[in-house]
């Protein structure tokens, strides 16, 4: 219990003193995760919606694959991305290993299935509701997808936030592909792992509380934004 209290006070002092390094790694965490979130959402949301409206031969298989990929251990993702981006690997010439871009790639791989799966679930429900009307109105496939994404945007936001939560707290993959290099690829989670390794539990916990606070702030901010938007329409 003393340790947890120490963690709280460490977090408090880090924030209260505007610790430069804390700002740096927190902003990097946000940048990496938000970039990954945008890319993953652009892939996963239309994909999840497409799978809800379109029947095709391997649909069930694709959905099962996505659900299975959700359980992929981040360390494995990290290892695969590492091998691909390594200078000895197929994409070595891009020189992306141990950069924030590599971390973004790994996070995109990790959270795209999460977002796609949750998006697919909620879009399937909305599609059941809208199905008859949209068929009756002679909509094209693309119009159906756009309509569902527009009208189901609050559910899709939840899907995206689930992806955000998974990405911001992820450490296994980004440790491998980012390398936890000070001032380059060190983010909150890898810093926590590092401080734990040094046995500095108070600082590690302090960073952990900062991470939780960051996640809460982002969630609240997005919900507030979506509510302001709703007041006009909803």
């Amino acid at each position: 219990m003393v340790d947890i209290w120490d963690g709280f006070s460490a977090a408090f002092w880090l924030i209260a003193s505007f610790d430069a390094e804390l700002w740096e790694i927190s902003l990097r965490s946000l940048r990496v995760t938000l970039t990954a979130l945008v890319i993953a959402s652009v892939i996963a949301i239309p994909l999840g919606t497409y799978l809800a409206v379109q029947r095709f031969r391997y649909r069930r298989f694709v959905i099962s694959m996505i659900n299975a990929l959700m359980g992929l251990p981040p360390v494995v993702v990290g290892l695969i991305v590492y091998i691909l981006l390594s200078r000895a690997g197929p994409f070595g010439v891009l020189n992306l290993l141990f950069t924030p871009t590599a971390m973004i790639i790994a996070q995109v791989v990790i959270i795209t299935p999460v977002i796609a799966s949750i998006a697919h679930q909620s879009m399937r429900e909305l599609w059941a509701e809208y199905h008859d009307l949209l068929i009756s109105l002679n909509t094209s496939k693309w119009q159906r997808i756009v309509t569902l994404m527009r009208d189901g945007r609050r559910n899709l936001l939840t899907a995206a936030l689930a992806g955000f939560g998974r990405a911001i707290g992820e450490v296994g993959a980004i440790m491998i592909v980012g390398g936890n290099i000070d001032h380059v690829t060190r983010v909150l989670t890898t810093a926590i792992a590092l401080e734990t390794g040094k046995g500095d539990f108070a600082l590690a916990l302090g960073l952990g509380f900062v991470l939780i606070g960051l996640a809460i702030v982002v969630n609240l901010a997005i919900h507030t934004l979506s509510r302001t938007e709703r007041e006009g329409q909803w």
Binding site: L133, S136, T139, T147, D151, G152, Q233
Partner: protein
């Protein structure tokens, strides 16, 4: 009246999971006024309407219109499907799908908002409307693209007398304005009030058709006579 008719159904059958839903049905429809499909619950009225509209897969037979143009169709479902958008946006939606100029959308939406008396709530979420208001909205939304034929599947099934009266008045007006109505109902009073032509469906087959005035006065089959009397018919 409309170039779409006559509509010819030949040997049409719909089966689902090995069970016959309707058929075989042979029917030629060339109506001169509101056509009402009556029959007991589960007799296949809904499926018949959906087959005519072209949104139900048929397992046998053929459906042919004099002019095959589904953009001239509209369909109102028994429990109204409202989009999770504002009332005005619900009305605008079918027009947006066909890239109608914004000015024309505004004008059409304003016209129908006024016509169905929902102008004061045009910016509220349509999901907050009462059952009767929703159904009026659904009918208006079906009409914004000026269809030649409007299918209605028991549009007043769950409504009180006041709402039913409003909707019947609206339907009589649009019928008089030249839109062909094809409506299923099991409300005999409604059938008497609205029908010019009558189609009596029993056990997935067309049992009797003809002018409503003649059929109500002198039903030819015992089943229709019994149904009109209010007996349970199977």
């Amino acid at each position: 009246m409309s170039a779409l008719f006559p509509l010819t159904l030949q040997g049409v059958a719909v089966r689902r999971q090995g069970k016959r839903i309707i058929g075989p049905i042979d029917l030629v429809l060339n109506p001169q006024g509101p056509t009402i499909v009556i029959g007991p619950n589960g007799s296949g009225k809904t499926t018949l309407l959906r087959v005519m509209h072209g949104v139900e897969r048929i397992n046998a037979g053929s459906v042919s219109w004099a002019a095959q143009d589904r953009s001239k169709h509209a369909f109102v479902f028994q429990s109204p499907i409202v989009l999770r958008r504002s009332v005005a946006e619900n009305l605008a939606y079918p027009l947006r799908l066909v890239r109608t100029p914004a000015a024309q959308i505004r004008e059409t939406v304003a016209y129908w908002l006024d016509r169905i008396g929902l102008g004061s709530v045009q910016n509220s979420p349509a999901t907050r409307l009462s059952g009767g208001e929703r159904q009026k909205l659904a009918i208006a939304r079906a009409l914004v693209r000026k269809p030649d034929v409007l299918f209605l599947d028991e549009p007043c099934a769950n409504l009180d007398g006041h709402a039913t009266h409003e909707i019947e008045t609206l339907l009589q007006e649009i019928s008089a304005a030249g839109t062909q109505l094809v409506m299923a109902t099991h409300d005999m009073g409604q059938a008497r009030r609205l029908a010019r032509d009558l189609v009596f469906v029993l056990d997935g087959k067309i049992h009797e058709t003809g002018l409503a005035s003649e059929k109500f006065a002198a039903p030819q089959t015992a089943a229709l006579a019994a149904f009109l009397r209010g007996d349970i018919v199977r």
